[in-house]
């Protein structure tokens, strides 16, 4: 028996509780089944790339904070690495270690947000979210000790970081390192073996490695398809060669493996932080002003530096014309590019899978629209 049905088109967003910001999807349904998805961007476009052309190299750091506002330290790090490569600045070791500690903590915070909101999109009434936000809060408080800001840090400078960490920071960092594994265990007890989460996320929005790589999808989504591709290992920057960590990989390529992978990556990040604390030695955190002036004038040329952001390959393309501000600044935003296959992932699934997949991709509208 066949029932005559007509497709129905719904605009989800830009004002919607679970689009993670101002994102809009024009979704066509046949009953509950999705038959077409068209993502529409640009509601948070602030023209960061144009703004950067009128700012000095140091001032652009503040623009990077506001791109992916849940992982601003990582954005700082990527941009600073690009400036350092363009200008040939030798960073101070203590500054680099602090940079790595900050960005790994930020990766944990970002993954916590991703997991929390993924489960929120699944319909859990905020409990996993508050659990993960409690841990994120500790990290944000540590950032406040580092640089006085919680979200928009602007902590890093060419050649190192803005200021040395106070003693208070090391105290709370050591207690965080002690407590965090237990907190992740608690979160996993609540979520990992939960039948509802399992049945909702398993086998939904499956990607194959070939598809993912062809669509330039990177980060946890690529690793969840079974490709151990992590720029921290494959193209090491800063001192990632000196620390020992694993790349968690899953081969299912569905939403559940994306969730599980993020949990495992948090543990790996904590391992890196632990080693950084062991390696760090007293010293200056950034070069003296004689070597790196306030107004940096890189030589003419261009460079592309990519780091492993919390959401994938975060690339910065800088073109210098020898003046005090970038001639062109382009951000390869992983959030935007990871959405390339959104349509392919969603067509054929049900309405309930839509926002779960969306949460599993883990985008940030600040970075999608810039």
């Amino acid at each position: 028996m066949s029932i005559k049905s007509e497709p129905i088109t719904i605009n989800l967003g830009p004002q919607h509780p679970s689009t993670h910001g101002v994102f809009r999807m024009r979704v066509t349904f046949d009953g509950e089944t999705i038959i077409d998805v068209e993502p529409i961007f640009g509601y948070l476009h602030r023209g960061s790339e144009k703004l950067a052309e009128e700012r000095t190299y140091t001032q652009v750091v503040t623009l990077t904070d506001r791109m992916d506002y849940v992982s601003s330290m990582l954005n700082n790090q990527g941009y600073i690495l690009a400036v350092e490569k363009l200008t040939n600045i030798q960073p101070e070791p203590r500054g680099v270690w602090l940079r790595m500690i900050a960005s790994e903590l930020q990766r944990i915070a970002s993954h916590l947000v991703a997991i929390g909101f993924l489960i929120q999109d699944l319909g859990a009434w905020g409990t996993p979210l508050t659990y993960s936000m409690r841990e994120r809060e500790k990290i944000l408080q540590m950032f406040e000790m580092l640089c006085g800001a919680r979200i928009t840090n602007s902590y890093m400078r060419p050649g190192g970081v803005f200021m040395d960490a106070p003693q208070q920071f090391w105290d709370s960092l050591s207690s965080f390192i002690d407590e965090f594994p237990a907190a992740v265990d608690e979160l996993e007890r609540l979520l990992t073996s939960n039948e509802i989460i399992f049945s909702r996320t398993k086998g939904v929005a499956i990607l194959t490695p070939e598809q993912a790589i062809n669509a330039s999808i990177t980060g946890p989504i690529l690793r969840s398809t079974g490709v151990p591709w992590d720029l921290r290992k494959n193209d090491p920057y800063d001192y990632y060669e000196k620390v020992d960590f694993d790349i968690p990989v899953h081969d299912a390529g569905d939403n559940y493996s994306r969730y599980l992978l993020r949990v495992q990556e948090m543990r790996e990040s904590l391992k890196i932080v632990k080693q950084c604390v062991d390696f760090i030695e007293p010293g200056p955190v950034r070069p003296h002003h004689d070597q790196v002036p306030f107004l940096i004038r890189p030589p003419k040329g261009d460079c592309y530096v990519a780091i492993e952001g919390s959401k994938g390959e975060l690339g910065f393309y800088l073109v210098s014309d020898g003046s005090i501000s970038p001639y062109r600044w382009h951000v390869r935003s992983s959030s935007l590019i990871n959405l390339t296959l959104l349509r392919e992932m969603l067509v054929g699934t049900l309405f309930g899978d839509l926002f779960v997949t969306f949460g599993g991709i883990d985008i940030n509208m600040g970075e999608v629209d810039r």
């Binding site: 129905i8 088109t9 719904i10 919607h16 509780p17 679970s18 349904f29 509950e32 489960i119 929120q120 999109d121 699944l122 319909g123 859990a124 009434w125 905020g126 409990t127 508050t130 659990y131 409690r134 609540l190 939960n194 039948e195 509802i196 989460i197 399992f198 049945s199 909702r200 398993k202 194959t208 490695p209 070939e210 790589i213 398809t225 079974g226 490709v227 151990p228 591709w229 990989v249 899953h250 081969d251 299912a252 049900l350 309405f351 309930g352 899978d353 839509l354 926002f355």
Partner: protein
């Protein structure tokens, strides 16, 4: 209760106005109004308390304080909210079908209050005792589906239509297991009157009819749209579902209706399965309140810790899980009812034992069958992409 209040009124009127003889229908009407007033206001007070309790409890579950500003422990928060809702602007969308749009909230609220008319709050403390009240409850609860589809249709909103369609699909699917789960009880009690069922419950029926209790609880969760079956107003998918275009007191009525429905479901469950007002020492109404609060706590606990199912899984659970369980329950119960016919107190124990031994294993079996199959090997990390398998050409040339 009716005769009690009637007699009091009669006595009072005789006392005050001696000369005029009142017609009995006036007294009947007055008695009815008093009872309705008491029940409705009791439920309304319960709703306010439930909203406060739910928010405080969710706060506890989520490691935050919850509302604590108005009154001690924030107990007046829901009162303040109710006052605020009353004075909010009432917006009707331009394309809405105004008549149906206005009627829909009432359609949701009124049936919920009607349910309480047949609930015994104590032994012989009830508004009406109709001899098919168990059937009456089942019939009345179905009206809420009509309300939701009216609201969605009238507000001319596509998301609301989605919500209404989900609601109807769920309601139809869960009516059947919920209705069938009561058959066992009716067979044992040989009566459809809730009062009779309460009187018969020397042992709470949750111990005699475990399968029916599970099915009825899950089914009533689905019918009142609570987590994990809150697909009708799935916040992360449909925003507010059928309530999207409602505002002011009309929205307040929906809110009221939902929470009153939660109380109604908890009350019906505790009446049918937990012994209702039966209990030692304390009067029946206290026992009923304690049981209802316990069930509501359980419902809130579930809401705080579980995500929601997808629509196909919800319907699967109803048709592939609960429906079969009710059939098993009916078969086991009817056989045991035939075997133990004499009405001594051991009869319930024998029937209960038969149910635990022959029917309950099916719960575990069916839930195991419905469970999503696990990953074959969690630690398997096969690398399916030939990463680093080839060398770049220029390195080859150098060698």
């Amino acid at each position: 209760m009716f005769e009690f209040i009637y007699n009091i009124l009669d006595f009072l009127f005789d006392l005050v106005i001696k000369d005029i003889k009142f017609e009995s229908y006036i007294l009947t009407g007055l008695t009815g109004i008093i009872i309705a007033f008491a029940v409705i206001n009791g439920v309304l007070g319960g709703v306010l308390a439930l909203i406060w309790g739910e928010r405080r409890l969710l706060g506890r579950f989520q490691q935050r304080t919850g509302p604590n500003r108005w009154g001690p422990q924030g107990i007046l928060t829901s009162t303040a909210d109710a006052v605020k809702v009353m004075f909010k602007e009432d917006i009707v969308p331009e394309e809405a079908d105004r008549y149906i749009f206005n009627v829909a909230p009432l359609l949701l609220v009124i049936p919920v209050f009607i349910i309480f008319s047949v609930i015994p709050f104590g032994i012989s403390l009830y508004a009406v005792d109709i001899n098919v009240s168990a059937l009456f409850i089942l019939a009345i609860t179905s009206i809420s589906g009509l309300s939701i589809i009216c609201a969605a249709w009238a507000s001319a909103n596509r998301i609301a239509i989605f919500s209404a369609l989900r609601s109807v699909a769920m309601l139809i699917s869960y009516e059947i297991p919920v209705g069938l789960s009561l058959v066992g009880i009716l067979l044992i009690c040989e009566s459809m009157s809730v009062m009779d069922i309460v009187i018969y419950q020397k042992i709470p029926f949750i111990l005699i009819q475990p399968v029916a209790a599970i099915v009825f609880f899950l089914g009533s969760l689905a019918e009142i749209n609570r987590t994990p079956f809150d697909l009708t107003e799935a916040e992360s998918e449909l925003a507010a579902g059928y309530q999207n275009d409602y505002s002011g007191m009309k929205w307040g009525l929906f809110y009221l209706g939902e929470f009153a429905a939660a109380i109604a479901a908890a009350t019906v469950f505790s009446t049918l399965f937990l012994g209702g007002p039966n209990g030692p020492v304390l009067p029946g109404i206290f026992w009923l309140t304690i049981k209802v609060v316990g069930v509501l706590f359980f419902i809130i606990w579930i809401r705080a810790s579980w995500p929601r199912f997808r629509i196909d899984q919800v319907l699967n659970l109803a048709w592939k899980g609960l429906f079969e369980l009710t059939l098993v329950n009916i078969i086991v119960t009817s056989i045991s009812v035939i075997i133990w016919t004499d009405a001594d107190s051991n009869r319930l124990i024998f029937i209960g034992l038969a149910n635990w031994i022959f029917a309950f294993p099916f719960v575990l079996l069916i839930f195991k069958m419905l469970k999503t199959s696990n990953y074959k090997n969690e630690n398997k990390k096969s690398i399916s992409y030939p990463i680093g398998s080839d060398n770049p050409k220029f390195i080859k040339e150098k060698i």
